[in-house]
Symmetry: C2
Subunit: 152 residues, 2 copies
């Protein structure tokens, strides 16, 4: 496998990011990667890009975007005022799964959180994604919480 | 039960908030409500108070703080650029549990997220908190995700 590098996304990466979100079994029902992109995607990217507590990340291999995730840094009172890192919307291109890029991306995210002074990192994964659960456990994460959602 | 009102916390509420976090079965091992408060608490409160995407909330009854939670508003690319609301560190004074204040607080939080334009609200609850899981399900939440944590 060629080297994978991770960096903050630019607006030019947005079509590739939306395509990754849309090729997912859950995402295909709710995303639209057709061009021009829905303005909701462009507005959301601008908000993330301008917010120092948000980072939209891409994984790049041989000049192609092959993965993405969002990092959020959350200050909190608990644990004597600890920052938390949070990882959302983790995707690796389906053709490249199982080759180590996802694990490298998550481990890189953890290092970014450590560098920001976070005391813990958290994420949730849909209960249907059983392969993802084994993946996170292999990376040393603890499946300690139930994740609840409410659609508005 | 006297009426419970919900509002953004001020620095004067911080000792009561830390006391609520500390009287919890998980929190008692990691929090210190003794005065003067650990400066980590004061610094974290200042960060939350200054951040438009963070709200530290208190529930007040007859002039006394009886509950707390933190709301975080997270922009995202997924769902065509949907904002998410997130609820963390939910606590109701132990003597007042089971009387409806917690349910009222969570429902109030959901309305705040709706008013901010969020498309969903999310939270996680430690797998040992089985009474809390029934509580959220009664309030209409879906236990759809596994919650993973990694301590740094």
């Amino acid at each position: 496998m060629s080297a994978v590098r991770f960096r903050d996304a630019t607006l030019d990466d947005l079509p590739a990011i939306v395509t990754l979100l849309a090729e997912d079994t859950l995402g295909e029902k709710r995303e639209d990667p057709s061009l021009p992109l829905d303005p909701g995607y462009v507005e959301a990217f601008a908000l993330i890009d301008a917010n120092p507590d948000q980072r939209q990340i891409v994984a790049e291999q041989d000049g192609t975007v092959i993965g993405t995730m969002q990092l959020t840094f959350i200050p909190g009172i608990a644990f004597k005022g600890a920052w938390r890192g949070q990882i959302e919307a983790v995707r690796i291109a389906s053709a490249l799964r199982g080759q180590g890029a996802g694990g490298a991306m998550i481990d890189w995210a953890v290092e970014q959180c450590r560098a920001r002074g976070c005391r813990m990192v958290q994420l949730t994964s849909d209960k249907t994604r059983t392969a993802a659960h084994r993946f996170y456990e292999r990376l040393g994460w603890t499946r300690s919480h139930e994740g609840f959602k409410l659609k508005l």
